[in-house]
C-alpha cells in the first residue's frame, strides 16, 4: 500500500512525516505517472490557486480525477479541500478537481491575523479533543446530503467525508496528533480490501 502526497507546493513534507510516523509507505507526487503508483493521495495545505494551476498545467488533474472516480481515497487539507471541492464560492474559474459535493469558501475566517487554533471533539476520533490549526482557512459553506459532516465550527462544516473523499479546513499535519492520518490510512486499507474482493 503506497500513499502519495501531492508535492507541487505547500506543506507536503509535514504530511509525509506524519504518514511515515504511522508506518505508511509514502511517495511525493509531481508527475502524472506518479499517480499510477499510489493507493491513496493527500493534497496538502498551500495556496489553492498555485496547486490548482500546476495540477492542470502538468497533466495531473485528469489522472487524479480518473483514479478518484475508480474509488481511490483522497484527503484534502485546507488548500487541498478547496482543490477537491466541486464549487469554489466566488471563484468559478479557479482550476480544481471537483471531486466532492461541497461549496468551499476561501479565506472564510479572514486574513492571517484572524488565523487561529481551537480544540474540537470529533466523535469519529474518540473522546480526546483534537487541536486544529486554521491558517487563512476555508470552510464548507454548503454540501449535498450525501456528504457526512464530521466536525463543525460556529455552524460551518470543517471536516467532512463523501465516500472516498475526505476534507479538512485545518492542518492535522502541524500538531503531531496522528489520528486523522490514521483515519485516512484506514480508508485506504478498506478501499484496497474492496478492490481485492472484486478481483
Amino acid at each position: 500500500m503506497k500513499i502519495g502526497v501531492l508535492a507541487l507546493q505547500g506543506a507536503f513534507r509535514e504530511h509525509r512525516q506524519m504518514l511515515e510516523q504511522c508506518g505508511a509507505d509514502v511517495i511525493e507526487v509531481r508527475k502524472p505517472e506518479d499517480v499510477e503508483q499510489i493507493d491513496g493521495l493527500i493534497i496538502p495545505g498551500g495556496e489553492s490557486t498555485t496547486i490548482g494551476k500546476l495540477l492542470v498545467e502538468w497533466g495531473l488533474a485528469e489522472r487524479v480525477k480518473a483514479r478518484a472516480q475508480q474509488g481511490m481515497p483522497i484527503f484534502g487539507t485546507c488548500a487541498g479541500l478547496i482543490v477537491v471541492a466541486k464549487e469554489i464560492i466566488g471563484y468559478a474559474a479557479q482550476p480544481r478537481l471537483g471531486l466532492i459535493d461541497i461549496g468551499a469558501q476561501r479565506n472564510a475566517y479572514g486574513r492571517q491575523v484572524d488565523s487561529f487554533e481551537h480544540e474540537f471533539t470529533i466523535p469519529e476520533l474518540g473522546d480526546m479533543p483534537f487541536k486544529a490549526v486554521f491558517i487563512r482557512a476555508p470552510y464548507i459553506d454548503s454540501y449535498e446530503p450525501s456528504v457526512q459532516v464530521l466536525a463543525e465550527h460556529e455552524g460551518k462544516a470543517i471536516f467532512a467525508r463523501q465516500k472516498n473523499i475526505l476534507v479538512a479546513s485545518f492542518h492535522p499535519e502541524l500538531t503531531g496528533d496522528d489520528r486523522i492520518h490514521r483515519y485516512f490510512l484506514k480508508m485506504v486499507q478498506d478501499s484496497a480490501k474492496k478492490d481485492g474482493c472484486k478481483r
Binding site: Q9, A11, E14, T50, L54, R106, Q112, S115, F116
Partner: protein, 293 residues
Amino acid sequence: MEQGTFRVKAGLAEMLKGGVIMDVTTPEQAKIAEEAGACAVMALERVPSDIRAAGGVARMADPTIIKRIMDVATIPVMAKARIGHFVEAQILEALGADYIDESEVLTPADDAYHIDKHAFKVPFVCGAKNLGEALRRIGEGAAMIRTKGEPGTGNVVEAVRHMRTVMSEIRRLQNLPKEELMTAAKDMAAPYDLVCEVARTGKLPVVNFAAGGIATPADAALMMQLGCDGIFVGSGIFKSKDPAARAKAIVAATTYYNDPKVLAEISKDLGEAMPGIEISTLQANARMQERGW
C-alpha cells in the same frame, strides 16, 4: 480559540513552501503574479532595483498601495517595514497585511535593535546572512527566515553564499559535543536554546526561503537544490522583458527544481532577464545585506 500563536504564524510560512513570493507594485502586477501561480505577493511602492537607483531614504509603502493590492489578490499579501520601525509594523498589522518583512531593502530606522516581533499577531519574515543572524531574528520572534542575498542586483551569488553559510553552520553544530554548544552560541551571538535545537534537529526552527538576486528559473532551482524551502523574486520578474512568462517559469522551476529536463523546457524563450549588477562594483555603503544587527 487562540490567535497569533507562534504555531499559526510559522504555519503560514509552512504553507508557502515550494512556492514563489513575488514583489509587486500595482494591482495589475498582483493579478499577473497570482495568475502565474505565485503563492504570495510582496506589496511595494518600488522594487529593490528602483530603490537602489533612487537612493535616499526608502520607507514603508503608502497604505493605499498595499490596500489596493490586498483588494485584488486572493493569495497572502506581505509588506515591508524598516528594520526596527515597530510603528510601521503596527500600521501594516492594522491594515491587515498577512506577513511583515522587516527588511534591509528599506533604510533601517534603528541602528542597533530590531522589532520585538513576539509583540505582534501578524507574523514576520527577516533576512539573514548566516546562522547566528537567523537565530537572533527567530529569538526576536521571526516566524520565517530568508537569505538576504543582494537585493535588486539580479545576481544570485550573494544568496548562494548566504544559503551555503547557513547550511554549513547547521552541519557544523550537528557535529559538536554538547559542552561546545554554549561557546558556539557565544561565538555566533545566537540564543543558546535555539543553538541546541538546531544541533539536535539539523534544521532551522522555521521555514527558510531564498531571496536577493534571483532572476531566472535556473536561479530558483539552484537555490532549491541548495536546500531552501521556497523563493522570493523581487525585481527579477517585473524588470524583465516578459514578466508573465518569466513568473510562470520560475513557479514551475521551484516545483520541478530537481528535474533538469523540465528546467530546460521551461527556461526557453523567456525574453531578456533583468539587467544585472556585479557585486564587486557596488560601493560598501550600497550593499543592503550589511544592514541588520
